[in-house]
């Protein structure tokens, strides 16, 4: 219930035995939530696989319109951000709050860089008339494959849903950052940082699959 008590220097809700019990329960909750995230993206991956099998040449053509170099930079940025996120947890585990704050700030910065690059990729495509599905500007693009819009339907849905998750992740890390500056986390209690960290790693992992599927498929 809402009434908390202090156990070993940690606020523990009354329905948990102690802080370890609370920690392991929370962590299980986070992992179950991650399972739902993966399954939700799973629907897109299944759809992608089906249409890629039906129209491999269309996906190859679509990938040509993407700049693999930008995708590659973004992949590196996210991998770096996963590293800084892990540091954010690690520094809290060893009671180095200031360093943890720096690491979390660096993670948010990486997320921002990723979104900036994504923004320029999107606007560039809009400029060329590359929109999803029926909105694809055929007069401007002159696609070889009649249904090229379908590829971009997948491109925008997959990278868009991923981008929304990056933004949510940045929001959550900011929340951790503020609590971290207030000194709420230490080696005994850092569950929110770790939970958000798990979310962030999953989001990175999904991008690592999206990058080859969308950019390198040709």
């Amino acid at each position: 219930m809402s009434t908390n008590r202090l156990v070993n220097g940690v606020q523990v809700a009354s329905h948990f035995k102690d802080e370890k019990h609370q920690y392991s329960s929370n962590k299980e909750g986070i992992w179950l939530f991650m399972a739902t995230e993966i399954l939700m993206f799973g629907g897109l991956f299944v759809g992608y696989t089906i249409y890629h099998t039906m129209y491999p040449e269309m996906f190859a053509e679509g990938a040509k319109y993407l700049d693999w170099k930008l995708g590659f930079i973004n992949t590196l940025v996210l991998i770096l951000s996963s590293f800084t996120m892990a540091l954010g947890i690690y520094f809290n585990q060893i009671n180095q709050s200031k360093k943890a704050t720096m690491a979390l700030a660096a993670t948010i910065l990486c997320g921002a860089i990723f979104m900036c690059i994504k923004y320029f990729e999107y606007t560039h495509k809009f400029h060329l008339g590359i929109y999803p599905g029926k909105m694809l500007d055929i007069a401007k693009v002159h696609p070889e494959h009649a249904n090229l819009g379908l590829y971009f339907g997948f491109y925008y849905c997959m990278s868009g849903l991923h981008g929304i998750h990056v933004l949510i992740g940045m929001g959550l890390i900011t929340w951790c950052l503020i609590r971290n500056i207030k000194g709420e986390f230490n080696s005994k209690y850092y569950t929110p940082v770790e939970g958000v960290g798990i979310f962030w790693h999953i989001i990175d992992l999904i991008w690592i699959f999206l990058f080859p599927l969308l950019y390198l498929v040709g």
Partner: protein, 534 residues
């Protein structure tokens, strides 16, 4: 009578609407679900009565109805009846009301693992419901609750708004499931091993696994449908290279497991009722527990049986047919164990027991006709007829709704601390049980004779059976009115309930009625199984 020494319980500890809207107590959240879901049930029920009233007689003028203005209005009422009953009544029904209230009590916990998420799940359902009802005022949905493409892409009604509403209600379902899994794993009291948890908890646990694993697929399906409508991304649109049948695959990949989200908790309730009111240890505890998990596992591999006539490959059809029949095995295991539990028990014909026995009778018919429909050639004949309508109403209403009502009457004394009038509760059962059969049994015959479902009008040969069916729907309505009066009178002026009015053996009956805020005054320690009757 075992009341908390202070006289305080979860109902009177705080007062005022605000204390309810901000509560983190699983029992109060359960009651909030109870009130709201029953309201949705009333709305969905009125829709059903309207549909049946329209079908009371053949329309003599083309596209002018007896009760509803025309075929378009019929389609809308049909859609809202289905969507409300599925997404707002039966899916949240048992887990969110009875599960929320009794899962922690039955395993000796103070609350669910994440009380805030639990409250959030109620607000998700409310937000989704408000959005869903708002489509009433924008443009009424006419797609049917399944939102099949390509019609759902083309229709002028507020599909996007409805789909977002269902997405948010799906969040509610996921949060409940996630909460229950962690609660069962982590919050069992000392001595409560996994093989000592009541079978209702096993059923909720199996349900929770499906909720967590299947609902995300519905989420992405609905998002893609919304994207298809707004941006025309092409994934379900054949004009753009997409495939509308893929929507059906995605949709049923969620919605078939969702059928078991609806029925598994009902089976859990029935296990509790049968053992309590025959005063006998449940027969085959382990078999019933594992058959719940078995049904949950198989449920993910049978979605194609909704699509036998969609043009999927024959091999796929045959495979789905066989796997579907496989569901009959764990279900029959439950059935026979329940019957064996009754054998030589000292049976008390209380209202909850009558609902449980009604469940056995109706669910057997629903289940067996399900096996019939799993056979491809039979299904090709019955597809889209009233036979299918009768089948799933026997399972969903005859099964789940009977269990919900039985569960309410069983746990009512614990929830409200009051007794209800047994005789009037039994009358509610008589009307619902008889009315149900009068409504839906003729629909098997109508379907077998070829009356198609979802139609606003029919040929004159079907009029007699349709009349009988409509009269049955009035009997059901009377039954529910009696049930409502019984419960309201119970809450207002019922006698004080003792701690354990039914002589049940599970943990929730060892605390006061109604329970204190923290459920138990001292943390229980369990030394035996849940059904140790003499």
């Amino acid at each position: 009578m075992g009341h908390a020494s202070s006289g305080k319980n979860y109902l009177n500890e705080h007062s005022g609407l605000w204390s309810w809207l901000t509560t983190l107590d699983h029992k109060r959240i359960g009651i909030m679900y109870f009130v709201t879901v029953m309201f949705f049930f009333l709305v969905g029920g009125i829709m059903a009565l309207l549909l049946r009233a329209e079908l009371f007689a053949v329309n003599t003028t083309a596209n002018v109805g007896q009760v509803l203005a025309n075929g378009d209005v019929y389609n809308q009422v049909l859609t809202y009846h289905g969507a409300i009953m599925v997404f707002m009544v039966i899916v949240p029904g048992i887990p969110a009301i009875l599960g929320n209230f009794f899962l922690p009590l039955q395993i000796g916990a103070k609350d669910v693992a994440f009380p805030r998420l639990n409250l959030a799940s109620w607000y998700c359902l409310m937000a989704g419901a408000i959005l869903a009802f708002a489509t009433f005022f924008t443009s009424k949905i006419d797609t049917g609750w399944t939102f099949y493409t390509p019609y759902s892409i083309r229709t002028g009604s507020s599909v996007v708004m409805m789909v977002v509403a269902v997405f948010i209600m799906g969040m509610s379902s996921i949060l409940t499931g996630l909460n229950f899994i962690v609660t069962v794993h982590k919050l069992r009291c000392p001595g409560m091993s996994m093989y000592r948890i009541p079978l209702f908890v096993w059923a909720l646990y199996s349900t929770a696994i499906i909720q967590v694993l299947a609902t995300p697929i519905l989420a992405i399906t609905l998002l893609l449908l919304a994207m298809e409508r707004v941006f025309g991304i092409g994934i379900f649109d054949p004009k753009l290279g997409g495939d509308p049948v893929l929507f059906q695959h995605f949709f049923w990949f969620y919605s078939h497991p969702a059928v078991y989200i609806m029925i598994l908790p009902a089976m859990g309730v029935i296990s509790e009722l049968l053992t309590t009111y025959s005063k006998k240890t449940i027969f085959g505890y382990t078999a019933i527990a594992y058959s719940s998990l078995g049904i949950a596992a198989v449920s993910f591999f049978v979605w194609g049986h909704h699509m036998f006539v969609s043009g999927q490959s024959e091999v796929a059809g045959i495979l789905f047919s066989f796997i579907t029949m496989l569901v009959g095995v764990p279900t029959a295991i439950k059935m026979f164990n329940w019957l064996a539990t009754l054998y030589k028990g000292s049976i008390e014909f209380t209202a909850p027991m009558l609902y449980a026995l009604g469940f056995l009778f109706l669910f057997a018919i629903g289940g067996v006709t399900g096996i019939m429909l799993a056979v491809v050639p039979v299904d090709v004949h019955f597809h889209d007829t009233y036979f299918v309508v009768a089948h799933f109403h026997y399972v969903m209403v005859g099964g789940t709704l009977m269990a919900i009502m039985g569960g309410f009457y069983h746990w009512f004394p614990k929830m409200f601390g009051k007794m209800y009038n047994q005789t009037s509760a039994i009358w509610s059962w008589v009307f619902i049980f008889i009315g149900f059969n009068v409504t839906f049994f003729p629909q098997f015959i109508l379907g077998a004779k070829g009356m198609p479902r979802r139609y606003f009008n029919y040929v004159v040969e079907f009029e007699q059976l349709n009349r009988i069916s409509t009269v049955g729907s009035w009997l059901i309505a009377i039954g529910f009115i009696i049930a409502l009066i019984t419960m309201v009178r119970g809450v207002l002026s019922g006698a004080q309930a003792p701690m354990n009015p039914w002589g049940s053996k599970t943990l929730e009956w060892t605390t006061s009625s109604p329970p204190p805020h923290d459920n138990f005054i001292h943390e229980p320690v369990v030394t035996a199984g849940p059904y140790e009757y003499k």
